[in-house]
Assembly symmetry: C2
Amino acid sequence: MQKDTPEQRAAHEERVRLASGCMPTEDEVATMAARFKAISEPSRLKILFALACGELCVEHITQAVGGNQSAVSHQLKILKDNKIIRARRNGKQVMYSISDGHVMTMLSVAKEHLGCNE
Amino acid sequence: MQKDTPEQRAAHEERVRLASGCMPTEDEVATMAARFKAISEPSRLKILFALACGELCVEHITQAVGGNQSAVSHQLKILKDNKIIRARRNGKQVMYSISDGHVMTMLSVAKEHLGCNE
DNA sequence: TTATCATATGAATAACAATTCATAAGATAT
DNA sequence: ATATCTTATGAATTGTTATTCATATGATAA
């Protein structure tokens, strides 16, 4: 079998170099991965779709998605730590909401992508 | 402490009902969660950023992201099974590429979201 | 055919994450 | 102050997932 010519080898190296150049830093990749992971569990994704309709307190979130209060609270913490949602206290309750438009975009793009089966 | 009035209680139920109405089906949530999970590992996210610059074969991907061939191959399978990337054979090589625009959107939105620290 | 290159896969281990239970903490009312 | 309502947290268990190694498969060339 033919070995690559020096030109081909250079082209390969160039492609790898280009791809490496597209790469965010290790820290950036780690942060993005953690945020995707935060929204990659069915129970947490359900919480987000519930919050997409508007701010809710923990009890209402729990009712909307099912499950128990403790589990929901743990999940809310993960979402909050990853800047996916935000919290504000209102008396005895804590109200949660989607943190910004990027998250809403993710949700709608994910839903659209469901149609793509190829 | 005051109990909720019937009106307040009805308002609460309405909010929960509304939130539940925003909810995709169980199957849809499961699929979306699985796809987010596919892109939520640093090594796989790196692969995607490499492919964002254009089609690459396995060896080049491996060089671009580091790690060994077997690990990369396992990760490519997960991405492919979740419709995040596609594969085409070209002689002895298999060329991988981002499957569609939704994925590219996800990557750029994720990168933008890095700037949001609140 | 055999040899070689490129990629994929199965099985085992090791790291990680989700859920549950029990309980703590924070806020308000009495 | 105490009681109650709401949410958060720590620890333990259970279930998942990533990575590695060894090897299989698939394609081309000699």
